[in-house]
Subunit: 242 residues, 2 copies
């Protein structure tokens, strides 16, 4: 067994925005962590430059998709043989392509998408789910064991299947949320049970960043056709009724 | 006190579809009922022709909006002084207009919209709500007292305010449901918490009749502008993202 697997792997989290902070809060009791973010201070966790983060045994990328390529080019020369690199973007086809293209063959690759966020996981991670796409090597197995011990459910899938399903799941939830936001405050007094569910769905995503909205609507290769099909069917129903 | 108010009023339910049956099931233990429907048999409740139904002290109209005008013209000559006529359509401006135009001045008028249906009230009426628009007379007060004893919550409003709010509440829930139905079976495995709420909203209205869909989308005077605003905002978000 190579020496660097003998002790618990040190994990680097690159990107310390809302999601990076969420995973740091939950991982810190289980494994030694370090943080890399040029803008956000980590307070009581060790903060390291990009090259040092890239030398950790596990490198978790919690940056927006728009920054992913730059970060991958930054870490590529420093990655150690057998290191595991995992991204956490809301789409998977494009990050998987970038990781395969840019990162050296001697490190393991995992594309994953935690299906929760700071709001839905406010009370803990147990029972929450992660879409899980191992791309290369076996490094994902130890990561999976750790996350399962933390109560997470892993859903094995492929980047293509993930993005196809998410074109509906996230693409339409966010599209509908934007449509409803355009109407101002939602009515409440006469709301039906079904509309309350709709309003709850919208409420859960309306604080998401414009960056995330852009990733979901524009960086998922299946989102545009699904959106067009949805809008066409809604439009047809409206015209048939009228 | 006029003689016909001394005993509990006999209530006629005109229209014995899914909703007429739902209210009959709950009202029958509280007041004497009769049913009028040319097509559906009421089994163990007295079934009467339209003219006889119109001579009851309370006449509840549980027919689709497309049949309302015909039924109003049919009952108008037979209504007794002081009778209460109440419709239950999913829009209120148009039924209120028709009732005021067609029914004689000597009867009381109530426009109401039960904000529940056979599915959402499967386990009982308690806690469910009714949008309540008294149009003429005081007959609605006794009806309100009875429904409150049955555990219903009455929400006083006007036909205009009701339709304005419902253009969003029902108009968009049904529009979104039609849009999603156009995509085939919804993904489930990778569904987020927000998408599950969306799917639940859609599931609650997808069995509604084409007749009800038409009423909600085409017979609410505020539905079309709200729908256009929603679709335009969704479309703009999609184009900004792309």
């Amino acid at each position: 067994m190579p020496r660097h697997l003998a002790s618990p792997p040190r994990i680097a989290i690159i990107g310390f925005g809302a999601f990076g902070q969420l995973i740091a809060r939950h991982l810190r009791d289980h494994v030694p962590l370090c943080i890399c973010d040029p803008q956000v201070r980590a307070n009581d966790l060790p903060q390291v430059p990009l090259a040092a983060a890239a030398r950790c045994q596990v490198v978790v990328l919690a940056v927006p998709l728009s920054q992913l390529e730059g970060v991958l080019r930054g870490i590529a020369p420093h990655l150690r043989p057998g290191a595991l690199v995992a991204d956490t973007c809301s789409v998977k086809v494009r990050p998987a392509e970038l990781m395969r293209q840019i990162l050296p063959a001697h490190c393991d690759l995992l594309a994953c998408h935690p299906l929760f966020g700071p709001q839905s996981a406010a009370t803990g991670l147990a029972g929450h789910r992660v879409a899980w796409c191992p791309l290369r090597g076996r490094g994902h197995l130890r990561a999976a064991a750790l996350l399962r011990r933390m109560g997470l459910r892993l859903l094995p899938t492929t980047p293509e299947h993930h993005d196809r399903e998410m074109a509906v799941v996230q693409g339409l939830t966010h599209l509908i949320a934007r449509g409803l936001a355009g109407l101002g405050p939602l009515p409440d007094r006469l709301a039906t049970a079904s509309f309350r569910h709709l309003a709850r769905a919208v409420g859960m995503v309306q604080a998401d960043s414009p960056e995330l909205l852009r990733t979901i609507l524009a960086e998922n290769p299946y989102a545009e056709p699904v959106r067009k099909q949805f809008l066409a069917a809604a439009d047809l129903a409206a015209r048939q009724a009228g």
